[in-house]
Symmetry: C2
Subunit: 287 residues, 2 copies
DNA sequence: GCAAATTTGTTCGTATGTATT
DNA sequence: CAATACATACGAACAAATTTG
């Protein structure tokens, strides 16, 4: 079997991109490490369809023979593919080529019909149904704690001011889809929004409920979208590979009233391998 | 030294989240693997500040002594932290705790002053300057090729219709920041937008240029935000860890004219560790 | 339902190569 | 050049999860 040497690789300034770099040894160009060349061979087989999504990659014992390398080296090659999100391994079962799920599309801009922000309440349910899927939410876990860091900052509260948090697990077609936590100033309860403390779903959506109970009307919101490695809870809930090779989206949504005062912060976490975000922007009423 | 066993771990249905799961062996709860417990110890030292960002983690040889584990096991622990994006390793130098750069904020919704979409032309320059940084772009690489897959789809063209692509590397403060490729139907040139073929920067922005040359006015756009592992070119350009532990954002922006016909597709790639996206949504003129 | 076979996961040992200081 | 530190590669043994007979 012949492993093609790599012949082109862009080299930017700065720290060398070891071990992708073509290594020069004694004036001649050295090859990339064995495990990377094996990984490249396997990657080609996946991309050409020789190994189709869902099918089993030959077991390590077989690859050891095929590529005349030790088992550890084969494992490094497979690990490389795993890190790239191309395969998944399970003890006892084997290594399967990943078949990417049809991503769920989350529209972050408001629905022009309902005015609901994407990923929330009625708009969320509607969007799930529009994609012919079934939405389900776990019952909220309600807590009161002191606002720290970004939570206090986004809500415009003093550090250590008390906030109500409402945490929910959400599912689509019974697969875990998002973890969502909303934070409200604790004085909303004293002012009459007592259902915020109840561990029942607020059917009409908390934004509508707060408008009815307190007269606070949502006039705008800001989303902040970041990506990071999942923590232990997220790995367990979304059933992600434990090594963090599948990242998660984390969105911060700060809702503001007509005076531009923030009154709600919602932190949502989505697995990045099964979601994408959409934005629809209309420029016709811009200057 | 005492390594704390893990006492709580959410177990969802479906495939067990090996190896995070508490393993039961003969009726007793087994511990997580040694390398994960060592990684956890080190992670704690990082998060409590005992190992501060930028500082060197003790070398493998020292950790071998500290934790009474073999060098391979230590390497597994360090690899775990590397995959989580907490440390970076360099041969000869050592293992450093990552100091996260101040993320650059990209506003995807249009600027209410200029009407420019986020991350583009004038709005991009302005946003960079507003964050006290310096923007620079490489000269465009112009190509003509046949539209494939999503490119044809988003532009509403037949598969294999020809498109112009304009590819640019962009820098902020001289660090590589984004890779951007815009696609236009090839007949734009015949209709008069000849500068699209020139490898010179189009100062006023291509959207403005097309409006002047062809009378096509941008009335709306749609963004699609996804996350994936970087490819080899992106690893080299952004100087990312070669194992794909830092993912990239990929955004598809489809610009439409007043008749809602797509006329431009821009694909941008950003390193996810140094960027975040912002959305500003005004609901006051919604129903 | 159980036992055996298969397959990946963990851990050790050892040697050598490459990059940086 | 020498010392230090991480990277690659091989061999070996046992554990844990799954599938198969």
């Amino acid at each position: 079997m012949w492993l093609a040497p790599v012949t082109s690789c862009i080299l930017p300034s700065g720290r060398p991109a070891y071990p992708f770099r073509l290594r020069r040894v004694g004036g001649t160009v050295a090859e990339r490490p064995l495990y990377q060349r094996i990984a490249e061979e396997l990657r080609l087989k996946i991309e050409t369809g020789e190994l189709s999504p869902g099918s089993l990659v030959p077991p390590e014992s077989q690859l050891t023979v095929d590529y005349k390398a030790s088992r550890n080296t084969i494992r490094e090659a497979v690990r490389w593919l795993k890190d790239l999100g191309l395969v998944d391994t399970q003890p006892g079962r084997g290594t399967t080529v990943i078949s990417k799920p049809v991503p769920f599309e989350i529209t972050l801009t408001p629905d022009s019909e309902t005015g609901f922000g994407g990923g929330e309440g009625a708009a969320y349910i509607a969007e799930v149904q529009a994609q012919n899927r079934v939405a389900r939410a776990g019952s909220p876990k309600v807590e009161i704690h002191k606002a720290k860091g970004r939570i206090a900052e986004e809500l415009g509260l003093a550090v250590d001011a008390e906030v109500i948090s409402r945490h929910q697990q959400r599912y689509i077609d019974d697969t875990p889809w998002s973890l969502q936590t909303s934070y409200y100033p604790v004085d909303f309860v004293a002012r009459g929004a007592t259902r915020l403390l109840s561990a029942d779903d607020i059917e009409e959506g908390t934004v509508r409920y707060i408008e009815g109970a307190l007269g606070i009307k949502q006039a705008s919101y800001t989303d902040r979208i970041t990506v990071r490695a999942p923590d232990v809870n997220e790995v367990a809930f979304f059933d992600l590979p434990a090594n963090g090779s599948v990242p998660v989206f984390q969105t911060y949504r700060t809702a503001r009233d007509t005076e531009a005062r923030p009154f709600r912060l919602t932190v949502s976490v989505f697995a990045a391998d099964r979601n994408e975000f959409l934005l629809n922007v209309d420029l016709t009423d811009m200057p």
